[in-house]
């Protein structure tokens, strides 16, 4: 029993640390971080006495951020529940967001303070890190569920070997599904520039701003997804619970 669970936990740890490391490294190379780093160092240098007493050298500030992020990631993994992994995703997104801004068409930050994005990382790498983030989030949410299923099945009296088989199957299925999704999304990413010209031609004629069109499209995609999922449930036609026989009792009693 321990072996399959250890396998799941190790996978979780690997994904959590890898995604946090990648986002943290990406953060350290963003132009937004570069802009704010001197300001942060100036603020920290005011408390030089305390830093000296703590034997912290500001020359290792980047490394400190990396270690802090990894430590938080480890802490969230140790909790091992859905809320912990939710926080891990939030932390990763927080570190990932500055790198995304570097590649955005609209510079909203420039409205608040003078900021000129100068990306130092290749676009593909940022996209790859984003994919890793999504994979980590979805995979961790599912592994938590897998562990819950394990507990439930063992509690219901299933054999541990059978439960191990189920866990292994679920993990394999998840890995396959993730690989497939990554392949499809990457294809979409590469295909987008090719259809961009066609889309621009179609949308140019519309008398609405592109943001409105985008939001409408997003809502339509979300609605279509929900309708698709619910439609599939109806097709499945599972038996309602009241048709399931109750626990057998002695006849006539």
């Amino acid at each position: 029993m321990r072996r399959a669970e250890t396998y799941i936990r190790t996978t979780e740890l690997g994904l959590a640390l890898a995604s946090t490391y990648m986002t943290a490294v990406t953060l350290l190379k963003t132009s937004l971080y570069m802009k704010f780093k001197p300001l942060l160092l100036a603020l920290l240098s005011r408390g030089e006495n305390i830093l000296g007493w703590l034997r912290i050298d500001l020359a290792y500030f980047d490394l400190s951020i990396l270690i802090l992020a990894m430590a938080l990631s480890l802490l969230f993994w140790r909790r091992g529940d859905e809320a912990g992994f939710g926080r891990l995703f939030s932390l990763n997104m927080l570190m990932f967001f500055p790198s995304v801004i570097d590649f955005s068409m609209f510079n909203w930050i420039n409205l608040i303070l003078p900021y000129d994005p100068a990306p130092s990382l290749p676009l593909l790498r940022v996209f790859g890190v984003g994919l890793l983030l999504q994979v980590t989030y979805i995979a961790l949410m599912n592994t938590v569920r897998f562990r819950g299923v394990r507990e439930e099945l063992v509690g219901r009296g299933a054999k541990v070997e059978d439960v191990d088989d189920v866990s292994k199957g679920q993990m394999a299925y998840l890995a396959l599904l993730m690989t497939g999704t990554v392949a499809v999304v990457t294809s979409i990413y590469y295909a987008t520039p090719m259809v961009k010209g066609l889309l621009v031609l179609e949308t140019e004629g519309l008398p609405y701003p592109h943001v409105v069109i985008g939001i409408v499209c997003s809502i339509l995609i979300a609605m279509a997804t929900v309708i698709y999922l619910r439609g599939h449930e109806t097709k499945a036609g599972y038996e309602p619970e009241d048709q399931i026989p109750e626990e057998t009792e002695a006849v006539g009693s």
Binding site: V100, F103, S104, M105, F106, W108, L123, F127, G130, L133, Q134, I138, M141, N142, R145, V149, L153, R156, G157, A158, K159, D162, D165, V166, Q170, A172, Y173, L174, L177, M178, T181, V184, V185, I188, Y189, T192, H210, G214, I215, S218, I221, A222, T225, Y228, L229, R230, H232, E233, A236, Y238, E239, Q243, I244, P245, E247, T248, E249, A250, V251, G252
Partner: protein, 480 residues
């Protein structure tokens, strides 16, 4: 309904897309599509759809505490996911070996798996397992779990163990297990004991005609011939009245007062049947005396119109019996549970079969009503009545009225009181789990002493039995 995980994915996807629109960022927009693509592919590869379950064992008839076993084979086809199959055992069954629950992973290939179990049946009854329920789940639980059941009938008959009273081994002990006093019934070989003079009916022997009485009566008015009727000899008869009121449920599901009462019933049935007695059984509800009403006609009144057609109308039209409306709130026809007296192994089987179904509130009749229901088989006979119940000092009215009813139908014969045994099972002692509870049970039993004296005055013998303290045979030997 979409589960929480799916909703979260849809919402996160939507958030990514909106954010991507505001920032004009292709990465965020494409990443926003990730959860949607994930869900779409996940749903395309659906959960298992076809589950077939077969049983390998056979229907069994066992005694209480006997063991039953079964082997089930589950075959799963189509889809990917986990499948659970569980044979729902009755509550009173205890799993000894194996498991009645199986979980299996259905991958790309079809799967077939077997599992077997052995279980001990702790309570009597007829258990019919109709189907084997199964559940299939999507590997990531994106869609709702699918529930179903495969028809796989199986019947277990768990027979209660009777307390056999075969032989008394204690030499000094004087067995006081009573036998019916006389063996007179309506049918059988006539004895020399004169009963009455009655009208001649076809089939009566000419030797039975009482010529003197016939001449006397026929001289006054035209009458049929008169014949002498004599008492008839037959098998001795025993009537067992088993209480199924809710207070008999005292104790655990498996070891309660009713279970001991059933075992005692079977023991007594076995004892008397093996001694060539006719044994009848009637199950009643002690508490039913609280709502018992007047005895009502069970069959509709006969249509007397053809008979009365020729009669001249003397008075105004009267209301017909059938036209009478039933008073509002009248008690519906109660359920009767009677096994008519008979002899032999067949009767034993019939009583055993009835015992399989007995549970609390099995009958709707009070003791008095039950006696009234079988009065046709009691009147004119002198059977032994055994009332198996749990005497409670707080409510004795039903028992007393029942015993009076027995006197009414059986005691009038030659002014002799009927043989009645009240077999009292000490339910509180059965239910007692600790020493303190046993003391409380003893105290409650002590409160019952005046009731025993009152019942004795009514002509009944009270046999008390604490199943925890002494055996059934000892209880019969130590009766007062």
């Amino acid at each position: 309904m979409l589960n929480r995980g799916v909703q979260e994915l849809v919402v996160s996807s939507f958030a990514f897309l909106i954010l991507g629109m505001f920032l004009g960022n292709l990465i965020l927009i494409v990443l926003g599509l990730f959860p949607i693509v994930f869900l779409a592919i996940g749903i395309l590869v659906g959960q298992p759809g076809e589950v077939e379950v077969r049983r390998g064992g056979e229907d069994l008839k066992v005694w209480v505490d006997g063991q039953v076993g079964d082997t089930l084979t589950a075959a799963v086809r189509r889809g990917v996911g986990l499948v659970t199959v569980g044979d729902r055992l009755p509550k009173s069954f205890r799993l000894d070996e194996g498991s009645n629950f199986k979980v299996l992973w259905k991958g790309a290939r079809d799967v077939e798996a077997s599992f077997s179990y052995k279980a001990t049946c702790a309570k009597r009854g007829l258990y019919e397992l109709d189907s084997v329920p199964w559940e299939t789940r999507h590997p990531l639980q994106i869609t709702e779990n699918r529930l179903g059941a495969c028809p796989a009938p199986r019947t277990y008959i768990v027979q209660p163990k009777p307390f056999f009273v075969r032989r008394i081994r204690e030499r000094k002990a004087l067995t006081r297990v009573p036998m019916p006093m006389e063996a007179k019934i309506k049918f059988g070989v006539p004895t020399t004991d004169f009963l009455e003079v009655r009208d001649y009916t076809s089939g009566d022997s000419y030797r039975m005609i009482n010529w003197k009485a016939s001449a006397r009566l026929m001289s006054a008015s035209p009458r049929p011939l008169q014949v002498n009727e004599y008492e008839r000899e037959g098998k001795k008869m025993v009537w067992i009245f088993l209480d199924s009121a809710s207070h008999m449920a005292l104790g655990t599901t498996v070891n309660n007062t009713l279970e001991y009462a059933i075992q005692a019933t079977l023991g007594l049935t076995n004892f008397y049947l093996s001694r060539a007695c006719r044994v009848g059984l009637c199950i009643y509800d002690y508490d039913a005396h609280e709502w018992e009403g007047t005895f009502q006609r069970t069959r509709p009144a006969q249509d007397l119109k053809p008979v009365l057609a020729s009669m001249e109308r003397m008075e105004g039209p009267t209301k017909a019996v059938g036209d009478e409306t039933e008073p509002s709130g009248a008690r519906p026809q109660p359920r009767r549970r009677i096994v008519l007296p008979d002899i032999g192994r067949r009767q034993q089987f019939k009583i055993m079969r009835e015992m399989l179904n007995v549970d609390t509130r099995y009958s709707d009749e009070s003791l008095k009503e039950a006696i009234h229901s079988c009065r046709g088989h009691i009147v004119g006979t002198r059977p032994l009545f055994i009332i198996i119940t749990m005497i409670d000092a707080a409510k004795t009215q039903g028992l007393v009225s029942g015993i009076r009813e027995l006197h009414r139908y059986s005691g009038s014969l030659r002014q002799q009181s009927p043989s009645i045994i009240v077999f009292n099972i000490l339910g509180y002692s059965v239910a007692a789990q600790s020493e303190e509870e046993e003391m409380a049970a003893d105290l409650l039993e002590f409160h019952n002493r005046p009731i025993y004296a009152a019942l004795k005055r009514l002509g009944a013998t009270v046999v008390t039995w604490n199943p925890r303290a002494k055996s059934f045979v000892q209880a019969l030997l130590h009766q007062r």
